[in-house]
Structure formats: C-alpha cells, structure tokens
C-alpha cells in the first residue's frame, strides 16, 4: 500500500535542514507521498530507510523498457486513468502475428505485407513495433520464424507456454531481447528463471483474473519484476474487463501486484475479422492495452489506429505547435504563389504534405494562431482578416515575395472579402475545404 506523508515523515531525521530544497521535513514528506519528489532527494536517510521507502513510494505502475530492433520504447509507468487528469506517458505499441502453422510462403507474404506499413505522421514513425510469433505445434518452425522476425527491425514477442520450446526460441533470439509471453500457473518457475537468466520481459497469463493475480504474486516472490500481463483471449468481454481491472487495481487501489503493463491479442479475439480487430485496437488503445497484437498490419487499420494513438498520447499541457513563418515548398522562390494556414502541427503536416505531393512550387505561410486548427482558430478570433494582414506585414512578405496570389483555406471562405479589402494589391483565392483536394487544385492552378 502507498504510504501517507505522515508515515514518511516519521522516518526522516526531522531536523528541517532544508538540504532537500524544502522548508521542512514534513513538506518534503508530503511531496514524496504525492509522487512529486523522489525519496532519495533527502541525503540524510539511512540505506535501510531508503530501501524500505523506495519500494512503497515507487510509482504505482512499473515502467519497462522494450526493444524493437535498435529502438527502445517505454511501456507502463502510467499514473492516471484518464488523460485529462495529467497525461498518458507510454503510447500503446502494436504487433502483427506469425504462427508455426503458416507455410514458408505464407509466412514470407505475411511478413512482407505488414512490414510495408511504415511511414511518418507528424514526425512520428508509424509501424507495428513488434512481431508476435506463436507456437502451436511445430517447434522447429516456431524457432525458425522467431529467427526470421529477428532479421527485421521489429521487436519480438514469443507466445509459447511449452518450456522446452520456449527455451530453444529464447536461445535463438536472445540478442534481440524478445518478450517471452508464456508463464502460467503451472510453468511459472521455470519460465521466470529463463526470462531472468536472459534479462527479458516475461508475459504472464491465467485462466481468469484471480489466477493471473496469484501467479504474478508468485513470480514477484521469486524476485522477478520484469513482467507484462496478458489479458487473455477467452472473450472480448473478459479481455476488456481484465485490461480495465488490471490498470484500475494498480492506479486506484495501489495494488502493486497488478502494477504492470498489459498485452492484448486482438488477433486471437477476432481471428480473420480485420474490421473487428480495428475496432478492438481502438478500444484497447484507449482502455489500457500496452501492447496490442493484430493478425496483420494494413494501411487501412494503421492510418486510423496510429492516428488515434498519436492524438490520445499527446500531453494535454503541451499544444502541438510549429513556428510561424514562410515555408517555401517544392523549391518555391519569390515568384511562387502563397498559401496561408495556421500553426497547429497537425494542420501544417496535412497541408504541407499535400502541397508537396502536388509538385507545384508554393510559399506556405504559417500564421500565429495559438496552435489551433483552421476552424478553431477562426472561431477563437485567431485567424481573421486582420491576423492575415498582420502576418503579411510582420514577416515582411511583400518584400520577400513578388507573387501577389494568396490562397486561403476553403473552410474560412467567408474571410475572402475582408482579406481582399485589407490587402488590395493581392489576389485572394479560396482553396478547397480539405487539404487532400489541394493536389488537383494546385495542378489546375499552375496550368
């Protein structure tokens, strides 16, 4: 259980020496209890006390490092159940699946198709970070597939409850630090040892939440706290309950046994149904899946689910803004026309992407709109005829650019007249509503 400020205070020297930067030991203790300060900030605590307190003042949910090729990601470490309470910190990671029942050709095709989904969206790489390899009956094939997965730049999840087979697969892939998802009530001792010996994360499963809880407790008693909890695939309903209960137990009840990240195999929950898997990936991205395994990663699923993830795991305190200014695209010079938009990172990303795709040189003007989207900025008065005119003046656009064409977003077509009045030398043109229509629009414009 979490300690109260008073309990911590009792263990401090109570000298109020201020070495920790706090006026009193009591103030220090309260902050530690809230999780705002680390207990080690007081230099006057004995090793004994430190150890005792480190355990009980540790964050409610462990943060683990996972490896996907050369990239390291954090999973877990969440402190709130809802993002508005503070922020979610570790984004859900996704995996696609291989299984030893697949023929060579099938496995290669599956690998190939899912690996291809790999692109950037607002400075973030979007792809399935993991390949989840499942053992069903053919041990050699399983090990072979695990090795194949190791040849990619993705992380590996080994799904296997058979100890001998797991041992062989771990031996073959140890260098890639796979996640060994295979501990249960009957094999946990051996599996835990295998995982700790190789310094890898162990996935724990159980027939229900009680068994999962007890097995996790037993593994912790062995000294292994490098765990991920598999919510199981008995039914969609039970998997959802498990994902919520595990997270809630850790954060609400401060029950550290369940203070671990979770793994959800939506591929197994809705096998063969790409649409249902997309729905479940969405559900578990919001409700507490740390790693979400799908059968395959397609562009259709990825574009929607990765977009959702990128939104949900932004810090509510930090608006996603980019610097206002003149951004020449497609080698635009002073003779190229101007298009104006707002400084919301998402808007910039979508609009600049489409303009680049058109291949037509254009100077994209990013005005200071407080980091809001076009319509939000317009509704908030941060994108108006005056703000556009002010931008042209402040950034000295008329001296830097000779062309006098200004394309405005279709969604603020109502501003056209007013902007035209304020910028009589310019030709104000209303662009399309959606950026995707910009390619054709710019091409038509240039011809």
């Amino acid at each position: 259980m979490a300690l109260k400020g008073l309990d911590i205070f009792k263990l401090t020297p109570k000298t109020n020496c201020k070495d920790c930067g706090n006026p009193t030991c009591m103030a220090f203790s309260m902050k530690v209890a809230q999780g705002a300060l680390d207990i080690s900030k007081c230099p006057h605590l004995s090793a004994d006390v430190l150890e005792k307190l480190a355990e009980s003042t540790a964050p409610p949910m462990k943060s683990l490092t996972v490896k996907a090729g050369d990239t390291e990601y954090k999973i877990g470490g969440e402190t709130v159940l809802f993002r508005h309470e503070k922020s979610f910190v570790s984004k859900s990671l996704y995996a696609f699946s291989l299984c030893d029942t697949m023929s060579d050709a099938e496995a290669d095709a599956a690998l190939d198709a899912s690996l291809k989904v790999d692109y950037e969206r607002i400075s973030e790489r979007m792809y399935a970070e993991f390949i989840s390899v499942t053992y069903e009956k053919n041990a050699d094939r399983f090990v072979e597939l695990a090795k194949k997965a190791m040849g990619t730049d993705r992380g590996i999840i080994l799904n296997c409850t058979d100890f001998e087979v797991a041992e062989a697969a771990v031996a073959a892939t140890a260098a890639a630090k796979p996640i060994l998802n295979g501990a249960n009530a009957s094999n946990y001792e051996k599996m835990s040892k295998l995982a700790t010996d190789n310094g890898i994360i162990l996935g724990v499963g159980g027939v229900d939440l009680d068994e999962l809880y007890e097995t996790t407790e037993k593994i912790e008693a062995l000294g292994n706290k490098n765990l991920i909890l598999d919510v199981g695939c008995r039914s969609i309903k039970s998997a959802f309950e498990a994902a919520v209960q595990i997270r809630r137990a850790a954060l609400l009840n401060k029950d550290r046994v369940f203070g671990y990240p979770s793994l959800v195999n939506v591929g197994a929950l809705a096998s063969g149904d790409e649409n249902m898997q997309a729905a479940l990936a969405s559900l578990f991205t919001l409700k507490y899946g740390s790693i979400i395994v799908l059968e395959k990663m397609t562009y259709a699923t990825s574009l929607a689910v990765h977009g959702l993830r990128q939104n949900v795991f932004t810090d509510p305190q930090k608006p996603m803004k980019i610097e206002p200014g003149i951004y020449p695209l497609n080698k635009a010079d002073e003779n190229a026309p101007c298009a104006i938009t707002v400084d919301f990172a998402l808007t910039y990303f979508v609009v600049s992407g489409e303009l680049e795709r058109s291949g037509v040189p254009v100077n994209l003007l990013i005005s200071d709109a407080g980091g809001y989207s076009v319509l939000t900025a317009w509704a908030a008065g941060k994108l108006s005829a005056s703000s556009v005119a002010k931008f042209i003046k402040d950034y000295d656009v008329e001296n830097k650019i000779k062309n006098r064409t200004l394309i405005i977003p279709g969604k603020v077509a109502v501003l056209k007249g007013e902007i035209q009045d304020k910028l009589p030398d310019w030709k104000v043109i209303v662009g399309p509503n959606e950026a995707v229509a910009l390619v054709k629009f710019m091409k038509d414009f240039a011809s």
Binding site: I236, F258, M276, L283, L286, L303, L308, V312, P316, E434
Partner: protein
C-alpha cells in the same frame, strides 16, 4: 492473497431517454457505470447504432455504400433498406438539401421527405439539419410539426439557434432535442442549462459534444467525454447527465484517409477499406469514451460496431 476487484458504481446515472414509439423504440443512456464497465454494474441499455442517409443521396461515395442503396428509388426506400438491417437501431436522416449555400431546397420539400422516411420505417428517427443555423431553426420546427407523435430526435440545437428549436421540438411538439456544443465541457453544460431554462425537461435532451475523426484532434473529444462522464456520475451534475450521441460518419468520411483514391495513393490500398477502418476506429473510440449512440454510414462499419457492442455487453 486473492485479487480484490475494484468497483466503481455510482449513485448517479446517465438519463434514460426514449426515442421512437412502439415495438422498436429505443432507450439511450441509463447507465451508472463507465462505458462498457459491465463488471461494475449491469448496463441495461447498450449503446445504439444509427444508419445515416441523406436526402442528397450518396452518389460520390464508395461502392459499398452506393451499391447497398443501388436499388432504392427514393430516400424513403433507402431508409427502409437500412432499417431492415438487424444491426441498425435507428435511422438518421440528413436534410442536406436545405443548405442555403447548396441546393437550398424549400422547407416544404424537406418536410415531405422526412414524413415519407418516417412512414417507411418502423425504427426511431433522428433528423440532422443542413448545418445552417437559421435554416435549421425553421426546418426543425416544420419537420417536428409533421412528425408529431413520432418522438424523433433533432440534431442539433446550438448556442446560436437553441431558442426556437428547443421551443418547437421540445415544448410544442414534445420530441427530443439534440444539444450540440464544440468539444468543451463548459459549453456543453451551459447549453443544457439554457435549453432547460426554456422549459424543456433535461430528460428530453441528448448531447452532441462535437466530434472529430481519429487522428484529427480526437484527444479533445476523448477528454471532453471523459470529463462529462465523470461530472455526470461522480459529481451528480444533473446538467451533464444527458446521454451522448456522436455523428461519426460525417467526420470520418471527409478526411484524407477516406477520400484519397487508390490511384492517388497506390500503396495505401483500397479506399473503401480505409474509409471503413476510419469509421470503425473513430466509432469504437467514441463508444469507449462514453457515447450512448453513434451514427455511421457504411454497412460494414454498422455491422462491426453493432457486433462489438453485443460482445461487450
């Protein structure tokens, strides 16, 4: 030690709002737990799925949508076809033609369409206007008059036009008022207060908190819904206990992922499948955040989301 399950059962609940009449009427809301938390308490009225149709048809849509309605000669036929699906709980008719900046169809024509649709189906009806505040105000009044006794829901009354809409729909013709705000808990509450002050019972209001497609500012949608749900359940805020309805399709089918053709983006694959995924992912996220109803367009999305709800409840 055995696992001690946390339970969050609240004494307050979301209002249960009835839509439609007769055998197929539905109830939105009523739950006193968080979305799909059936392990905390039973959820008597699972979230509902509506099929969106438009009085302008679906000509420029993907094959799965146009194909589904290909044999329909009228909007009423489309409504009938959609309503025949088991996975559809209600029909949502968009009176897009009324838009003064578009076709600017006369109100009388829209009333006629709405009446024909209502007569053609035996499931509840939700009416979406043309998004022009003044026109919607007139339109809803006349449609509500024509649909008296049908207990339809009108989307939406906004800060700009709530007075006439709430008075006509909620008071004069005793149907359900949709209160639309823009992704902000304070605005949502304020609008509910204003509509209540006119005399409309809080239990005749359904909220549209504003929506976005996944990837397009959706974090604000999630947080607004999370906060509204928390205020309704744990703080017993009666001015935020109205069930939430979210029009998903209009957002999800207008973003690049759904409208870029395969020709334009060859490596992205089938445009139709991208649109369906966008609609499904957005809808599932809305439901997980607390929507009591979602409005969808593609038959495949409708089927998947309806199945998801059944699996979870």
């Amino acid at each position: 030690m055995p696992f001690k399950k946390p339970v969050q059962k609240f004494s307050a609940a979301i209002n249960a709002v009835e839509l439609g009449v007769g055998e197929n009427k539905i109830v939105l809301g009523g739950q006193n737990v968080m979305p799909f938390y059936t392990f905390d308490n039973e959820i008597a009225n699972p979230p509902k799925v509506g099929a969106e149709i438009s009085d302008m048809g679906f000509e420029d849509q993907v094959q799965g949508i146009t194909g589904f309605y290909a044999d329909c000669a009228s909007v009423a036929d489309m409504a009938k076809k959609a309503a025949a699906l088991d996975s559809v709980d209600f029909i949502c008719l968009r009176l897009e033609s009324a838009d003064p900046n578009g076709k600017n169809a006369p109100v009388a024509d829209c009333v006629h369409t709405a009446k024909a649709v209502s007569d053609a189906i035996d499931k509840p009806l939700v009416i979406i206007g043309c998004k022009n505040d003044e026109k919607d105000a007139v339109l809803f009044e006349k449609v509500a008059e024509a649909l008296q006794g049908k207990n339809a829901l009108y989307l939406s009354a906004k800060e700009e036009n709530y007075k006439s809409i709430a008075a006509a729909v909620g008071l004069a013709y005793r149907q359900k008022v949709g209160a639309e705000s823009s992704v902000d808990i304070n605005l949502a509450k304020q609008l509910n207060v204003l509509i209540s002050q006119i005399g409309v019972d809080g239990k005749s209001i359904v909220m549209n908190l504003g929506s976005a497609a996944a990837g397009y500012g959706f974090e604000y949608v999630v947080s607004t819904m999370d906060r509204v749900g928390a205020a309704a359940l744990s703080q017993n805020d009666t001015m935020l206990q109205m069930p939430v309805i979210t029009p998903v399709s209009t957002e999800s089918w207008s973003v690049k992922e759904s409208i870029a053709t395969q020709e334009d983006m060859p490596h992205w694959g089938s445009q139709e499948q991208r649109g369906v995924s966008m609609e499904i992912v957005t809808a599932a996220a809305d439901l997980a955040s607390g929507s009591s109803a979602v409005i969808l367009r593609h038959p495949a999305s409708i089927e998947t989301i309806s199945k998801l709800i059944k699996e979870l409840i």
